[in-house]
């Protein structure tokens, strides 16, 4: 059993020491990935733009509702901050995806290994930004819940 494993271990060790050629079948798979990543980037940019329009509309409504409340402008500023955080994250994710798709296409077109390295870098940045978006979303949700409890205590359930 050990004799069977030895060449395999050596082969793995050899692979880890040197660069590994990309499997031939992966070329078309990466091309499809690049196309979908570009579509995802465009939808993210569109989503950021729509969120910006939505922000102005919602803020206008909230401004009217908070007209008779003291310190209403503070809540509007808070809402702007929340919206800007979400819009920034969405645009940043779109930017990483755009770069990822671009580098991947370039790597496949010119068979440039440096571009492939960068593609993996942007892939990492994309997932990292997505992770931080989730963490920020959780923090904002908890903060929103606390603010809701505070406002309910201040104004009352029928206020």
């Amino acid at each position: 059993m050990l004799e069977h494993n030895e060449p395999l271990d050596q082969e793995i060790h050899h692979d880890q020491e040197n660069n590994v050629p990309l499997p031939v079948g992966s070329y078309s798979t990466l091309a499809q990935t690049a196309t979908w990543a570009k579509i995802l980037a465009i939808t993210n940019f569109s989503s950021a733009g729509l969120q910006l329009i939505g922000m102005f509309v919602v803020l206008d409504r909230v401004r009217l509702m908070l007209r008779y409340l003291n310190g209403g402008s503070n809540y509007i500023l808070l809402m702007i901050l929340v919206y800007l955080i979400l819009i920034s994250f969405t645009a940043l994710i779109g930017w990483h995806l755009w770069n990822y798709a671009g580098r991947l296409k370039s790597a496949l077109l010119y068979e440039d290994t440096d571009d492939l390295d960068l593609a993996y870098y942007y892939q990492f940045r994309y997932f990292k930004t997505l992770g931080w978006l989730v963490i920020s979303g959780l923090i904002l949700m908890v903060a929103g819940l606390l603010l809701f409890i505070y406002l309910r205590a201040m104004i009352g359930p029928y206020g």
Binding site: N19, V20, L22, I39, S47, G54, E111
Partner: protein
Amino acid sequence: MEQFDNTTANDAAEKPGLQITRDARSFWPGTRGWTLFLGIASLVGAGFIGLVVIMLIWVANQQHINRAELTMVIFIYILAFLIFAGFGALLLWISSRISLANRYVHKDNIAQYTDSMRLYFMIAGIISILTVLIQVISTMVLVGD
């Protein structure tokens, strides 16, 4: 001209094709960690949505609520549950593929990693197109009100 053709032919013959370098592999552990985190977060989110569905069904049985409206709400929640659960499972699968490719740097494992990423971006792309369409409609309704 002849010399140029020879040079081009030699370049083509010597070209090793695309290679996975040490630099590229240095990003894999980070990507694996974040996909694992996102996968777990997605499954936890699916769990919460599942609880909301159970609660809605319980409320519907207890009180007299418009069945058609509630069925629609439950349907949307079940759809969200499936999306979150599906993405969670997919991200955990990607994480395991990256882990395998990073540990045993072999062309078969790299191919599996590449393929799992293609599936992820394809599904995420389709869902994001639908999401943007819904967002466009809701923004138009919001502006029109």
